[in-house]
């Protein structure tokens, strides 16, 4: 999941189709200062991408931790899973902060930042995560879920590029 995000990110970079998120004026419930980056790649998701209520309004709420069989069986939670379950972060078509406040899917970093405060701070400063664009101009950030799978945020291992040749293997190429 996360690997896919990365490859999408890298491939997309070279096409450089930077999608700008129109600064929506809805998020007034947070007293976050305007110090968060504004341009993201490959762009953020909106709540329309998560029409949860379409199904969930027909089902009773079950807060118990259990093996999901009917739906979302592909999601395996490895993210402090002993202390939380779906509804700690999801609520209806929104994301849920620990204090119960609901936010849109386009600003997941507010939710992540609730626990990962120092990482959030580094990210805002451009130290955590990848930044592209111009070093002296418009910088393009990635939001948390572009690189991390929120259900299994730890990076998976990847195959490295080939090791360099040893000096004894660097030989005259007579063709």
């Amino acid at each position: 999941m996360k690997g896919k995000f990365i490859s999408v990110a890298i491939a997309g970079l070279f096409i450089l189709s930077v999608s700008f998120t129109a600064g929506s004026a809805e998020h007034t419930q947070n007293d976050e200062k305007k110090d968060v980056p504004e341009i993201f790649f490959p762009g953020t998701l909106s709540s329309e991408n998560f029409p949860c209520s379409k199904c969930h309004r027909f089902r009773p709420t079950d807060r118990k931790q259990r093996d999901l069989k009917l739906a979302h069986a592909d999601i395996v939670l490895k993210h402090a899973e002993k202390q939380r379950w779906c509804l700690d972060c999801h609520d209806g078509d929104k994301l849920r902060l620990p204090n119960g406040e609901l936010i849109d899917y386009d600003k997941p970093y507010i939710l992540c930042g609730q626990c990962h405060g120092t990482v959030f701070r580094d990210w805002k400063a451009g130290i955590h995560g990848k930044t592209t664009g111009m070093w002296n101009g418009v910088k393009v950030y990635r939001i948390c879920v572009n690189c991390h799978d929120p259900h299994q945020p730890k990076f998976k291992q990847i195959a490295p590029e080939k090791q360099p040749l040893r000096p004894t293997e660097i030989k005259l190429n007579l063709r």
């Binding site: 040893r166 000096p167 004894t168 660097i170 030989k171 005259l172």
Partner: protein
């Protein structure tokens, strides 16, 4: 002017004409030179990939030979000091041949640096005024200056002496004494600068020790005179040149002191590295014991050490020093010992392990060997030709024509 042209032909005829042994020797050298040149042209065409040098060990056999020969050139001073400063007559008579060794060695040095260049056609970039010499910052720029200066000094001394002798006149010491006096510190400087060339960079802890320049000088004062000991004996045998035993024994005695100091300095280095036991001991450990199972140079270094110690003893004891069998044995041991110690043992381990800790066991490639052999043959050729002209002049058999002849 007419005299000049005539004399040029006299000199030329002297060099060109010779016995069968002379022609055989010259042909032998020319074959080696041709072989070296052919190999070099190949290297020129394909690049230095034909050598065994790589990014890890970026200097190798060429620069090793260069360093050894700077030492040989510098060692001419060991003849100059007793000859001119202490007027030790037996040596004064042969100092000319020592200076010719210096000329030859410096020429070879320049060739070794040139064949080491990746872009030899751009060599003019390092000349002052014409190019963009990085003086005084780069020690290589210093080396260019001191080496060409030394070449010039020795050429001037030799040419002047030969010119006067060929006219049948004694040379005027007062005229050349300043140059002779200058040549003494200059000889020390060429080897000091060459040592500093390696010495100045903390990137290479093996060289970054202040003992390096003294070690360079001490080993130079062993190998240079040892070579001359052999040459002088050959000269004495093959030509009419008379060289007193006393001169040879004196040189051998000086070699003994130099070797004593050389071994002492090596001991000081070994103590410092191994007793303090910091990570900087790695190259020395590689040389004498091997590092991480890599020990290509160990047998060579141990051999060199044994050779040097034996030679030291031989040259120290008057009885063995003054016996020609043991004297020659000692001289050969020293030449080999110092050639290994300085060539393989002082240059290459500067890169082992390399600055990122990689151990690449460099061993000169075939082509490096052939090119090196070619340059040595070229040096032998220069020296032979110089001698061919100088000896009859020296013995009085060859005289130039001059209207003002007295």
């Amino acid at each position: 002017m007419v005299d000049g042209i005539k004399n040029f032909f006299i000199a030329l005829r002297q060099i060109v004409k010779g016995g069968i042994r002379y022609y055989a020797w010259i042909s032998f050298l020319l074959i080696l030179i041709a072989l070296g040149t052919r190999t070099y042209l190949q290297q020129f065409e394909l690049g230095l990939i034909t050598t065994a040098m790589r990014d890890q060990v970026s200097w190798g056999f060429y620069l090793s030979n260069f360093t050894f020969l700077v030492g040989v050139a510098a060692a001419a001073v060991l003849l100059v000091i007793p000859a001119y400063l202490y007027h030790f007559k037996p040596i004064k008579e042969i100092v000319l041949f020592g200076e010719m060794v210096a000329i030859t060695a410096i020429t070879m040095c320049m060739l070794f640096v040139t064949v080491d260049l990746g872009q030899p056609l751009r060599v003019w970039h390092l000349l002052p005024f014409v190019g963009k010499m990085n003086f005084p910052s780069s020690l290589l720029a210093w080396d260019v200056i001191v080496l060409s200066g030394y070449l010039f000094i020795n050429l001037a001394l030799v040419l002047y002496a030969l010119y006067r002798l060929s006219l049948g006149k004694e040379y005027r010491l007062s005229l050349i004494l300043p140059l002779i006096l200058l040549s003494i510190p200059w000889a020390v400087s060429i080897h000091t600068v060459t040592a500093f060339l390696y010495n100045g960079f903390p990137a290479r802890p093996f060289w970054n020790a202040s003992i390096l320049a003294p070690r360079f000088l001490a080993s130079a004062f062993c190998s240079g005179p040892a070579i001359m000991l052999i040459i002088f004996q050959i000269l004495r045998k093959l030509t009419k040149v008379e060289i007193e035993n006393r001169a040879l024994f004196k040189i051998a005695e000086l070699v003994a002191y130099a070797m004593g100091i050389n071994l002492f300095l090596l001991g000081a280095e070994v103590f410092k590295e191994f007793y303090s036991g910091s990570i900087h001991k790695a190259p020395l450990e590689y040389l004498y014991f091997g590092l991480h199972g890599k020990d290509l140079l160990v047998p060579w270094m141990r051999t060199a050490f044994i050779f040097n110690v034996i030679a030291f003893v031989i040259f120290l004891i008057p009885k063995t020093r003054e016996n020609f069998v043991t004297l020659n044995l000692g001289a050969v041991l020293i030449i080999l010992g110092v050639y290994i110690e300085k060539g393989l043992g002082l240059i290459i381990p500067g890169f082992i392990p390399d600055s990122l800790g990689e151990i690449y066991e460099y061993w000169p490639a075939h082509s490096e060997g052939l090119i090196t052999l070619g340059i040595w043959a070229f040096g032998a050729l220069i020296y032979t030709l110089l001698l061919k002209f100088a000896i009859p002049v020296y013995t009085g058999d060859l005289r130039f024509e001059s209207k003002t002849r007295t």
